[in-house]
């Protein structure tokens, strides 16, 4: 009996331990999402590499690109696509545009993108309601548009965080999907002269 009992106890333990270790993820409401957002690391300057996969209804295969992301808490966001070679481009989204006297559609989209990439909850809360899930130190937040105006352009945005924002999935209303994956996070070096100039020029436009 003893060996049987021992095996029985072993099987029971085996059945319990995995469940104990894989505790169910914690569901987060709007307020909890806001608090979770606030706890995410947000250094004054953050650089990362990104991989983008874009699926368009009019294009047969997913479009893949790679590049670098720069998030400056003071100045804004630069998204620099480096490959493929023919798709090289730089998008600068400055934090302030002194000559913009109102929020045009383009400025709003830019603000939203910047908020997504910088992980800022404030601007996003204006347009989206949030629901989240915490699984250990992993955080997954789904943003759904509050207004029909934004809903006509976007179905949802999903954000996955580790120490920093690690993945963004953008599901557009017209069927396009964009996945951005970030890696190689580093809070240095400081902004270069060219980067500062890019922010200044974009802000002045």
């Amino acid at each position: 009996m003893r060996p049987r009992l021992a095996i029985g106890w072993f099987l029971l333990l085996c059945s319990i331990v995995p469940h104990a270790r894989a505790a169910p993820p914690l569901v987060l409401d709007e307020t909890a999402c806001r608090e979770a957002f606030a706890a995410i690391g947000r250094p004054p300057l953050l650089r990362a590499e990104f991989t983008q996969e874009k699926t368009l209804p009019d294009v047969a295969r997913p479009l893949r690109a790679k590049g670098e992301l720069l998030v400056s808490a003071e100045l804004g966001v630069i998204l620099c696509t480096l490959s493929p070679e023919f798709a090289r481009s730089t998008k600068v989204m400055p934090l302030s545009r002194p000559n913009t006297d109102r929020l045009g559609i383009e400025a709003r989209i830019s603000r939203m993108i910047r908020a997504v990439l910088a992980g800022e909850y404030g601007p996003l809360a204006e347009f989206f309601s949030a629901q989240g899930r915490r699984d250990g130190n992993r955080l997954h937040i789904t943003l759904t548009p509050k207004s029909a105006e934004v809903r006509s352009a976007l179905q949802s945005i999903e954000l996955r965080f580790g120490t920093y924002l690690e993945q963004v999935d953008i599901n557009e209303a017209a069927g396009s999907k964009v996945r951005l994956m970030f890696s190689g996070f580093r809070p240095t070096p400081d902004l270069s002269v060219d980067e500062r100039r890019s922010f200044a020029e974009a802000a002045a436009r």
């Binding site: 874009k54 009019d58 998204l79 023919f86 798709a87 006297d101 207004s147 006509s152 017209a174």
Partner: protein, 775 residues
């Protein structure tokens, strides 16, 4: 004695005229209170005037409320309560708190396949590069046309830059909301009833909003309601003007009645005065309605202040009768009428000079006064003698007899030194007057309640930078949409330069919605040329991405966008007011935001006759300054004219002496008014012309016989007091323009009256027999 049938005919005529005026006034839309009615029209270009009227009419049927609370849910609850309360009031055609967001799909459909028409107009666009950016860009297709419809993003860029005016607002559960660090606000749109030009409708709107706000604050003290709309200013102006009218008419009428009963105890004088005042107001109102088709509140308020002056003629006529009763000398009527006629003549001269001021409202006042005084005069002449014979009695206190003796003695003592001192006083007054602060800003002449201005600032700050009152009018000779759009496109570079120079924050133009056909044709031609030139590279790029262009892509057919079609979309509602038709010509407006340097913008546009920078308030202010600056010359000419009129009866020397007290009054009135804070303005100039017209009356009355008997002197004093009472009450008006006018006028008349003994300065030997001294 006047024949009774003339009196009856006159009364019948007045009755008919009064009935017609009452009917016109009861029809509404005839009493104006807005700034526009104050502005000169004859000097304006017709398209500018048409644009101003078009803008006024498009904004006149709407008003806005911003219901604010610290949090969105509370703001929405508060909005629902306010909207329900406003709907229950019945004061509005429609109260819109919830409205569907614009259907982006309709706008997307409009620009569907129009990408070639929105391409750059200059050559050498790198199409493959634009295609790769559009395909790979992270958010390049979000909320715009598909890659197949717009592979290079030309139409998508255009769509994203459409200048939606509600861009500072976001839709939350069907509510248009705006967020500031302190509050979340919800916009409520009030559609006003068609009769909103009538005071009753304006009052109902204001009361309904007041009530809704009170109810809301009772339940939620943290909530606020801010209002924006011309209707609130119109209501405030009408309420203020009605209060002013009541104050002046009741105050003046009571003053006149009390004075007549206490000083003269003459029912004849009272009856004649009341009849002449009524006739004057009726005559003035009718004349203005006939000439202008409407009457401004400013005119009405000023009009009732004529009560004091209109009463003068009856006071003089009846006091002359009482005076002759004392002296038992017959023929009093024949002696008093020339003096009264002379007084009327100088008054009419003053008001006639006002018709030269290029402001419709001042002309209205002048027409009102000219007709009103003439009607009052005729009424006194027709009714006065009969009244004095029917309603006998009346007696003036003996004190006035002693006073008359004193004035006569003073006049005998006054000589050349007094005259020299008077002339010196004029010079000193003029010197001091030249240092007075001036204020020609037309906005400071209008009563704009500070609370409404504060609320307007809250609304414009919350919704984003407010629209400036200035705008640009595009009125090309061709008078077509195409010509207007081309003008707007030519204007674009200049406006960009103005914005870069910090002179304005932004603008909204119909050319930003659909370019001109000419521009589209150029863009299309350039697009097709580039498509052909870069076809090989493009085919390679498409293969690289795996994109198959839709049928017809390489031929890129002409799909010209028409402004007319865009304006038919429901989403185009916020832009429709930017286009209007006048006299068969189409004009466009370019509205401006955050204008900081209007003069520089005007200068930047001045070389194009088809483009007019309209800054109504500034142009009126400039006009007012232009009218005010040569004021001293106007007054000098008016004095010369008055002297020439007086000289016909009194000779040049006596005429000049009669004018001297008024000249001192005119010189010192602005100085004294400045001491109580009234700046020099065109309304001050008006007041000085009136001081001349009215102030000289007392010298005439005194010279004609005022110092001869107690009744006559009492008449002169009473005339001055009634006039001072009316014009003095004008100084307490809510409208700054009338208050300034009343203050300056009162000081001028007071000084003129106090110095009237100068008019009795001993006459020269050669004076004519027309003077009382010779009589």
């Amino acid at each position: 004695m006047i024949r009774p049938r003339w009196i009856i005919l006159w009364l019948l005529l007045l009755g008919a005229v009064a009935a017609w005026s009452a009917l016109r006034l009861s029809q509404g839309q005839t009493v104006r209170s807005d700034l526009l009615a104050l502005l000169p029209r004859a000097s304006e270009q017709a398209p500018v005037q048409a644009a101003l009227e078009h803008l006024a009419s498009s904004g006149a049927n709407r008003a806005f409320l911003l219901v604010s609370s610290p949090y969105l849910p509370a703001a929405i609850v508060a909005t629902d309560k306010v909207a329900a309360s406003l709907r229950d009031s019945g004061a509005f055609a429609k109260v819109v708190a919830k409205l569907p967001p614009p259907q982006g799909k309709a706008v997307l459909a409009f620009f569907h396949q129009a990408a070639p028409m929105l391409a750059p107009t200059q050559a050498s666009t790198d199409l493959p590069r634009r295609f790769f950016e559009r395909s790979y860009g992270t958010f390049s297709t979000t909320g715009t046309l598909s890659l197949a419809d717009d592979p290079f993003g030309f139409a998508s860029d255009h769509l994203r830059s459409l200048p939606w005016p509600q861009a500072a607002l976001t839709w939350q559960d069907g509510y248009l909301t705006a967020k500031t660090p302190e509050h979340t606000s919800v916009l409520v749109i009030l559609e006003l009833r068609p009769n909103i030009g009538e005071y009753a409708a304006q009052l109902a709107v204001a009361k309904a909003v007041d009530q809704a706000e009170r109810d809301l604050r009772g339940r939620n003290p943290a909530a606020t309601v801010s209002r924006l709309g011309g209707v609130f200013y119109a209501e405030a102006a009408q309420t203020g003007a009605r209060h002013d009218t009541d104050l002046i008419s009741i105050g003046s009428a009571l003053g006149v009645v009390l004075l007549m009963l206490l000083v003269f105890r003459s029912l004849a004088m009272l009856a004649t005065a009341l009849a002449s005042i009524t006739a004057g107001v009726v005559g003035g109102t009718t004349a203005v309605l006939l000439v202008f088709g409407e009457i401004h509140l400013l005119t009405l308020v000023f009009g009732v202040s004529l009560i004091g002056e209109a009463a003068d003629y009856s006071i003089q006529l009846v006091s002359a009768k009482l005076s002759d009763d004392e002296e038992r000398v017959p023929g009093w009527l024949g002696r008093v009428l020339p003096g009264l006629g002379m007084a009327l003549g100088t008054s009419l001269l003053g008001y006639a000079a006002m018709t030269l001021v290029p402001l419709p409202s001042i002309r209205q006042i002048a027409v009102f006064a000219l007709t009103g005084l003439a009607t009052a005069f005729v009424t006194v002449v027709l009714l006065g003698p009969t009244a004095t014979s029917v309603l006998r009695g009346g007696k003036v206190s003996a004190v006035f007899g002693d006073l008359a003796e004193m004035v006569r003695a003073l006049g005998r003592r006054l000589g050349s030194k007094s005259v020299a001192a008077g002339v010196l006083a004029v010079v000193v007054g003029l010197c001091l007057g030249s240092t007075i602060r001036t204020d020609d800003d037309v906005r400071s002449l209008i009563n704009r309640p500070p609370e409404l201005l504060r609320q307007e600032a809250v609304v414009t700050q919350t919704l984003g930078a407010g629209m400036s009152p200035q705008f640009i009018l595009l009125h090309p000779a061709a008078g077509t949409d195409e010509a207007c759009l081309q003008k707007a496109e030519a204007l674009h570079a200049r406006l960009v330069r103005c914005r870069e120079a910090g002179q304005l924050g932004g603008w909204t133009s119909l050319a930003d919605l659909t370019p001109s056909r000419h521009r589209q044709a150029t863009a299309h031609a350039n697009y097709r040329a580039e498509l052909t030139r870069q076809r090989a590279q493009l085919e390679s790029a498409f293969r690289e991405v795996g994109f198959t262009p839709p049928p017809g892509f390489w031929t890129a057919d002409d799909r010209t966008l028409l402004l007319h079609d865009f304006l038919q979309l429901p989403e185009a509602t916020p832009f429709r007011h930017l286009r209007f038709e006048h006299a068969g010509h189409i004009s466009h407006l370019v509205t401006l935001r955050a204008v900081t340097a209007p003069d520089q913008i005007r200068a930047a546009l001045i070389d194009d006759a088809d483009i007019t920078f309209v800054d109504k308030a500034s142009s009126i202010s400039r006009l007012l300054a232009e009218v005010r600056r040569p004021g001293p010359l106007w007054i000098a000419l008016a004095f010369l004219l008055a002297l020439s009129v007086l000289a016909t009866r009194y000779g040049v020397r006596r005429g000049a002496l009669l004018l001297l007290p008024t000249a001192i009054g005119v010189a010192w009135a602005p100085v004294l008014a400045a001491w109580v804070g009234v700046p020099a303005s065109v309304f001050g100039l008006m007041a000085l012309l009136l001081v001349l017209g009215v102030g000289v009356n007392y010298s005439i009355f005194l010279w004609e016989g005022g110092a001869r008997s107690r009744s006559a002197l009492a008449g002169v004093i009473a005339s001055c007091l009634t006039t001072l009472l009316s014009f003095g009450l004008l100084a307490f008006c809510s409208m700054p323009a009338l208050s300034w006018l009343g203050t300056t006028l009162s000081f001028g008349i007071l000084v003129s009256f106090l110095l009237t003994p100068l008019a009795l300065t001993a006459p020269a030997r050669h004076e004519t027999a027309a003077t009382p001294a010779a009589r």
